[in-house]
Amino acid sequence: MNDKPKWIRTARCEDIPLREGRSVRFGEREIAIFNLGDRFVAISNRCPHRDGPLSEGIVSGNTVVCPLHAWKVGLDTGDVERPADTLACVETFRVRVEAGFILVEMPLEGAEKKQAPGICIEHGGLPVVPKPPRMGIDDSDIRNIRA
């Protein structure tokens, strides 16, 4: 059983409002599922920066903006799009809808091990040291925007 990908029935379609995300816990993982209107997408719920809950972010097209320090993560690719040149990414998951349920594909147990927040297989599996976000603002400024 364990050597096959598993599809998990996670939530009902109506559980996730348009252009918002919700997190679903599954074992050790927390998965953020987003409703983009024409489709659902799923990525890991942990921001590569400092573990911010991406499901709580504001959706901007096909990206989500982390609520803690405004890193921007591509929802289809899992790549960090802001700060630019950050080689970090988050895990992405395949999604399909069946009978009103959102099904998310869990990768093989083995593959799971290789993936950790801040490490990106596509980029050669190198651990990425989270750099402080750029965009000309530092951490405290971002907090100031939010506070």
Binding site: R9, R22, V24, E56, S60, I145, R146
Partner: protein, 817 residues
């Protein structure tokens, strides 16, 4: 010193000729401006029966449509009258003229002598039948007061009927429609704006008006306004009557010639003037809509300014320039309905050719008429971008024979926007005030003009209808050595508009959801910068009468708590003025125990923070606390920090605690451009630091100081004094007025300190506590409307907006595939 001063004054008075101006409107005051350019020899008195300084009457349409406020359209401030030594008498009517004694009589009984008299009495709305206006609910549209009355009456869903389908009637209709009324325009003729449009053009215009939601009935001659003492409907000679809650009569204007008759001047339809703008009496002159020149009474501003210039020369003893009449051009000022018409568009006249272009799908119709190889008239509907070119041809009488094949299609260069470099110097840029390109360039070179504001000040260009602003900007950019573009920061690249534009767009276009704004004016997606900003504007402008889109809000505003670094939240209940009770404290303590709250902290704002709470626990905690939200997580009203004041303090002279609690009660639950922290102290020792708060009230013996724009965060700024008032109620009301002004005018994420630095306290004072009573009342009314609809966000704990708003979703099951 004193003696000589008095003497020179006395001498001056004796020597100076007395000029009396009747009518404080656009023509009269513009003419006075011109006279002052020639000479300062007159001692000037202006009588006006409106209670306002001279304002731009043209822009009343924008005021009605909510795009501008009454203050935005002032042309000459009180200081201007003072600086020029003009005696201004407002709210009084001149009732008589004695041409032999050379005096005027005023309705307050006073008599004023003149050496020269200038009649600039304008015109009045034409009312076809007197008993119409005796009914309640029948309005005209001519003055600020009329506009205010209409705005007061125009409530969403009420049925408005506008009689008259000319420029004025259509602009009134559009304004009322923006205010939410169900509007019908009834017009006597077979097409709208028949004096400016041919039947085809009128058809296009009708389609556009209907498309915007205004109903149009043509060929209807109104016989009666129905209703007993109060307007209830309108009856026609042809066909059934229609219902109305109120009626606006815009059936034309009638020159105010009464004083001319009393002075025994020659009067036909208007007061007759010759080419030097002289009447039949050597010391009485007339200008503006009240005059008739060569048989024509004008109803637009461009002729008035030309007349004013000529009159100024004549009256100051520089007689010479003559007024030859004006080529009339009219432009409909309705956003999204472009109509322009000038000259004679009748193509049936012998020797006239017409050239037409039509695109029904795009709603574009252009027609020009040509006589003797020259342009005779032009009609543009749907695309008026070439209007300047046609006006130039009209005025200059350009021979078009060589261009016959490209009359409606400008060469590609010109098509790419008007090329200011190619414009001849004599070409008019500002049609309203008659300012040519040459005059603007001269102002730039000789007077060192570098900004649009300076250009307006210096030449008055673009202060009329404003449609030449873009051209003026281009000229400045091209010619001014140190052109400073008024830096207009756009909200973000998703919606590239300045925030004040966006507020105007939201209001006038009635956009009621963030996504709609993004779809129509932006890139369709939006981002974390513009979405919360637009959400704020929606809420501020529509106060709940909009679609609240939580996906456009920051997480804090979705769950009404402050997200922390580990994804947990903090809970800060409202403790008004920092005053709590043992029972409340016990409940807070119980909640902290029951939910294992990791930290309980006293905040810097006299409140208690429960930190490290899980999202799913929020609704339960709120219910157990039984206290309202302290809004510590949002751009909204935080708190009023108070000291104990007269209640306990031996120094206290005002009851700061009660005042602070009341202030918090009046403003709580509202959203603001950025957080608003307030303070109330009972004496100038200022123990609760009110001078570094966004709004502070500081008690003094027998009065309160209201201060605004203080800060003690990243920036430290001492607050500016807004006003000192006697009673607590006045202090609270001043705070409310400023608060709403900040809500309406600050950019999103602009704290009050930045806002004040940007605008300056003087402007803020003038537009808030020192504004005319209706303006202040308007701010208060809008605030109270928002407040009535605002509620404690934590009520959503019991009735969530979305079933999974506070829920941690668990996977339903795992199925192998």
């Amino acid at each position: 010193m004193n003696g000589s001063n008095e003497q020179s004054n006395g001498n001056g008075n004796a020597n100076r000729e007395r000029l009396v101006v009747v009518g404080n409107g656009m023509a009269g005051v513009a003419c006075v401006e011109q006279i002052l350019k020639h000479s300062k020899k007159f001692e000037i008195t202006i009588f006006g029966d409106e209670t306002h300084v001279n304002y731009n009457r043209i822009l009343l349409s924008s005021v009605l449509a909510g795009e501008k406020s009454a203050d935005d359209i002032v042309l000459n401030s009180l200081e201007w009258y003072e600086q020029n030594g003009i005696r201004l008498r407002l709210g009084v009517r001149v009732t008589g003229v004695d041409p032999a004694q050379k005096t005027v009589t005023v309705d307050d009984g006073s008599v004023t002598a003149f050496d020269k008299l200038l009649l600039a009495t304008g015109s009045s709305p034409l009312i076809p039948s007197l008993d119409w206006v005796q009914k309640e609910g029948v309005y005209v549209f001519r003055s600020i007061d009329d506009t205010r009355a209409l705005l007061e009456r125009a409530r969403p869903g009420t049925k408005a009927v506008v009689i008259g389908g000319g420029l004025l009637g259509l602009e009134a209709a559009r304004g009322l429609q923006v205010q939410g009324c169900d509007v019908t325009v009834v017009h006597l003729m077979d097409r709208l704006m028949e004096r400016q449009l041919d039947p085809t053009g009128g058809g296009y215009l009708k389609a556009k008006m209907e498309c915007m939601g205004v109903k149009v009935l043509l060929n209807k001659s109104t016989t009666e306004i129905l209703g007993n003492g109060k307007a209830e409907g309108v009856a026609f000679k042809e066909g059934p009557s229609i219902e109305a809650d109120f009626v606006v009569v815009a059936a034309g204007i009638r020159p105010n010639t009464e004083l001319g008759r009393k002075a025994s001047l020659q009067v036909n339809r208007g007061i007759v003037v010759n080419d030097h703008m002289e009447t039949s009496h050597p010391d009485i002159f007339a200008v503006g809509e009240c005059v008739e020149h060569k048989g024509i009474c004008y109803g637009l501003v461009a002729p008035l300014f030309e007349q004013g210039k000529v009159l100024a020369a004549t009256i100051t003893g520089n007689k010479g320039p003559t007024y030859e009449g004006t080529v009339l051009a009219a432009k409909l000022k309705i956003m999204g309905v472009d109509v322009f018409s000038a000259g004679d568009f009748n193509d049936k006249a012998p020797g006239t050719d017409a050239v037409r272009y039509e695109d029904a799908a795009l709603g574009i119709y252009k027609k020009i008429t040509i006589r003797d190889g020259k342009l005779a008239g032009v009609i543009l509907v749907g695309d008026t971008s070439d209007s300047h070119r046609y006006m130039d041809w009209l005025r200059a009488g350009t021979d078009l024979t060589a261009m016959r094949k490209q009359l409606l299609f400008p060469s590609p260069v010109a098509d790419a926007g008007l090329d200011t470099a190619q414009m001849p110097d004599h070409e008019t840029v500002c049609g309203c005030l008659g300012v040519s390109k040459g005059a603007i360039i001269q102002a730039i070179h000789k007077k060192g003009v570098n900004t649009l504001a300076q250009l307006k000040e210096c030449t008055r260009a673009s202060t009329g209808c404003g449609s030449c602003t873009e051209l003026c900007q281009q000229l400045l950019k091209a010619v001014a050595p140190e052109f400073q573009e008024e830096t207009r920061k756009t909200l973000c690249k998703c919606v590239p508009f300045a925030e004040d534009n966006l507020r105007e767009i939201l209001r006038s276009q009635k956009l009621r959801s963030v996504q709609e704004v993004l779809d129509i004016y932006g890139n369709g997606t939006g981002c974390e910068v513009c979405k919360p900003a637009l959400s704020y504007m929606m809420d501020m402008i529509w106060c709940g009468d909009h679609e609240e889109d939580r996906s456009a809000r920051f997480v804090n505003d979705r769950v009404h708590a402050n997200i922390q670094k580990d994804g947990t939240f903090s809970v800060v209940p409202r403790i008004r003025g920092g005053v709590t009770s043992p029972a409340e404290l016990r409940r807070i303590a119980d909640v902290a125990d029951k939910y294992n709250v990791p930290m309980v902290k006293i905040t810097g704002s006299q409140r208690i923070d429960l930190l490290g709470v899980r999202k799913s626990d929020l609704p339960k905690i709120w219910a157990d606390l039984g206290m309202p939200s302290g809004q510590a997580y949002t751009k909204g009203v935080r708190m009023v920090k108070t000291c104990v004041g007269t209640e306990f303090c031996r120094f206290g002279v005002q009851d700061s605690t009660s005042a602070g609690i009341e202030l918090e009660r009046r403003l709580e639950n509202l959203f603001t451009p950025h957080k608003v922290k307030m303070g109330a102290v009972g004496c100038p020792r200022n123990c609760a630091e009110a001078t570094v708060k966004d709004i502070g009230i500081i008690g003094q013996e027998g009065s309160w100081q209201v201060v605004v724009g203080g800060a003690a965060g990243k920036s430290v700024r001492k607050a500016d004094l807004l006003v000192t008032v006697a009673s607590t109620e006045e202090a609270l009301s001043a705070a409310e007025i400023f608060f709403q002004y900040y809500r309406e005018n600050a950019n999103y994420l602009e704290r009050t300190y930045g806002f004040l630095e940007r605008l300056g306290i003087e402007k803020v004072r003038k537009e808030t506590v020192y504004a005319p009573e209706p303006v202040r009342q308007g701010l208060l009314d809008r605030l109270h409307k928002s407040k009535a609809l605002a509620q404690d966000a934590w009520l959503e704990g019991e009735t969530p907006r979305h079933p999974t708003q506070f829920i941690q979703i668990e996977p339903i099951e795992r199925i192998p595939l």
